[in-house]
């Protein structure tokens, strides 16, 4: 396995022909190449622009949207977008970091309608708000559930 490259500039230097990196050169705030997987971090206000850029660069298929709660460190939430290219047969991961007291960002359902259920799931289980989502309701838990179970400060056994 190739060694990890954690420095942003080094990643850009190592893969000058990678279309996702060229597309995101203005938007990326950090990039890493770890365990043969490319992760590009963007600012939360740029997520739609970043998704459109990688889509134009050939990464046409949104596989997955999920989140990681890094409680108690800040910025608390990491939203991970896994995007695949059918033609390049590679995937790129977009990451957005969100502060715990302002966990909201734009929905990418306008770019990929597939994000609909995934964003609802992140909203339900992490309490991250997606602005512009057509139907942001709980999906796994009952509608009247209190709390967001996949947050790290939510006990595994629940509150009961």
């Amino acid at each position: 396995m190739d060694p990890a490259i954690l420095d942003t500039q080094a990643v850009f230097d190592k893969f000058p022909d990678e279309p996702a990196l060229s597309a995101l050169s203005d938007l990326a705030t950090a990039a890493k190449y770890d365990r043969e997987e490319l992760t590009v971090t963007v600012a939360r206000e740029n997520i739609i622009a970043a998704c459109e850029a990688v889509k134009a660069a050939g990464y046409n298929f949104l596989e997955d949207v999920t989140a990681v709660d890094w409680y108690p460190s800040e910025p608390r939430f990491q939203i991970s977008y896994s995007i695949l290219s059918f033609s390049l047969k590679r995937r790129v991961r977009l990451a957005v970091r969100l502060a715990g007291d302002d966990a909201s960002l734009d929905s990418i359902t306008g770019v990929w309608p597939a994000a609909n259920f995934y964003e609802r799931e992140v909203f339900d289980l992490f309490g991250v708000h997606f602005g512009g989502h057509p139907n942001l309701r709980r999906i796994m838990m009952p509608e009247d559930w209190q709390g967001h179970p996949l947050r790290k400060d939510y006990p595994v056994e629940g509150y009961r």
Binding site: R35, D64, T66, F86, R91, L125, R138, P149, V156
Partner: protein, 419 residues
């Protein structure tokens, strides 16, 4: 703080349906005043589990359709965070319970990527063999239930006759019929017993004739043809936009299969075809899965013919439980066994995605490690979840009876959707 505020709010029931009806009125065409909202599921034999659909119908025509899921949500992702890495394997069995070894493989690949483990050839071949047998197992359940939904009950009995043989094979190799936990981090759990490969080979050599038998019951059947042809169309653009993978994607003309295009577990060393169709209807998905079963038989036979000799687990004593014999005779193995069972093993920090082609489509495991012995986050991306989103596109404007056929054709397992 109690999650239940008032007992009468626990199950909204009919109020929920009415609220949904109100929501559906907005944004529909003016004809919406004459539409009716009906509830299908969660206890409905054709929803393959506990799927609930809120359907807005105009006469017999579906105007809109909203899946309501979560009835089988057991918080597996949350539970994973409280377990050691090796303890997560049995949990993954219960995600897509029709192909547990495929789930195990996806999880094992992710953790092995984090650990940078080299898996011996024999374990990889065994994984391929059992992944393909799992595909047969899953497709047999799909075919039986799909045909039963359409009204051909006999096929179900035949499919389960063959599935019983498969379950006996799984029992012989792992000790369990369904929740096998056979594929573990670093390899597989047990050496296959004597004579098992002959049993599998006998099954595989006989199986194509069984596929032919199902086809004689279905393919020429006028009811089957009329219920399937031209039903549940989705354009390739919509399929990609909605995240559809697996047989429904390939039936829409997109030639993508993780096994061939992003090979894992030595799939690049096997020869097989990826069936593709362009009709993108329920019929095309039926034909495509039947072809897939034949290809799976080919792959299994190649795996049996070329089965390498050697170890079935990686050489990593601090990660993989020692052999029972060694554990009882060697001090070092005993210590390793004790440490792994009581403390687990630390996994280097990082985040990885593994991807496999499950029977239902692309299955990804996203595992985040913070350097401890418990996964910081495990997320399963199952094809069923995304494919379910495409249900409305496939059913809109079609007859209510077609919904049943379309649900059968996307082949969902609610365990994989709700997790």
């Amino acid at each position: 703080m109690s999650p239940i505020a008032a007992p009468d709010q626990i199950n909204p029931g009919i109020e929920d349906v009415i609220a949904d009806a109100e929501r559906h009125k907005h944004g529909s065409d003016p004809i919406a005043d004459q539409t009716m909202v009906i509830n299908m599921g969660p206890q409905h034999p054709s929803t393959h589990g506990v799927l609930r659909l809120v359907l807005e119908i105009d006469g017999e025509t579906v105007v809109s359709l909203a899946p309501d899921i979560g009835y089988l949500h057991t918080g597996i992702e949350k539970t994973c965070e409280a377990k050691f890495y090796q303890q997560v394997v049995p949990l993954t069995d219960r995600i897509d319970y029709l192909s547990p070894m495929t789930n195990n493989t996806a999880y094992a690949l992710a953790v092995e990527k984090l650990l940078d483990l080299e898996i011996p050839a024999k374990a990889q071949w065994l994984r391929v063999l059992f992944n393909e047998l799992m595909r047969l197992n899953s497709h047999l359940v799909w075919l039986g239930t799909h045909a039963m939904d359409i009204g051909a009950l006999t096929v179900f009995l035949y499919c389960f006759r063959e599935r019983e043989q498969l379950l006996r094979i799984f029992e012989a190799v792992s000790g369990q019929r369904m929740m096998t936990s056979y594929i573990r981090i670093g390899g597989v759990s047990l050496e296959p017993p004597m004579g098992l490969f002959d049993q599998i080979r006998a099954f595989l050599l006989d199986f194509p004739s069984k596929i032919h038998e199902y086809e004689t019951l279905l393919t020429g059947n006028p009811i089957w043809i009329n219920r399937l042809k031209g039903v549940g169309y989705i354009s390739p653009e919509d399929a990609i936009a909605l995240g559809v993978t697996g047989p429904p994607l390939r039936a829409a003309g997109i030639d993508f299969d993780v096994r061939r295009d992003m090979p894992y577990s030595s799939y690049e060393k096997f020869q097989f075809n990826v069936p593709v169709s362009t009709e993108s209807d329920v019929w095309a998905r039926y034909v495509l899965r039947m072809q897939e079963m034949r290809e799976s038989v080919r792959i299994c036979l190649q795996a049996l013919d070329g089965m390498p000799e050697g170890r079935i687990v990686a050489d990593a004593p601090k990660i993989i439980l020692p052999d029972r014999e060694q554990m009882k005779t060697q001090m070092e193995s005993l210590i390793h066994h004790f440490k792994i069972v009581t403390e687990g093993f630390a996994v280097p920090a990082g985040e990885v995605t593994s991807s496999v082609e499950a029977a239902h489509g692309m299955m990804n495991y996203y595992v985040v490690s913070d350097g401890t012995a418990k996964p910081y986050r495990v997320h399963m991306r199952n094809a069923d979840y995304a494919n379910l989103q495409a249900l409305e596109t496939m059913c809109k404007g079609r007859l209510l009876a077609d919904v049943v056929a379309v649900i059968g054709s996307i082949d969902i397992v609610l365990g994989a959707i709700d997790r």
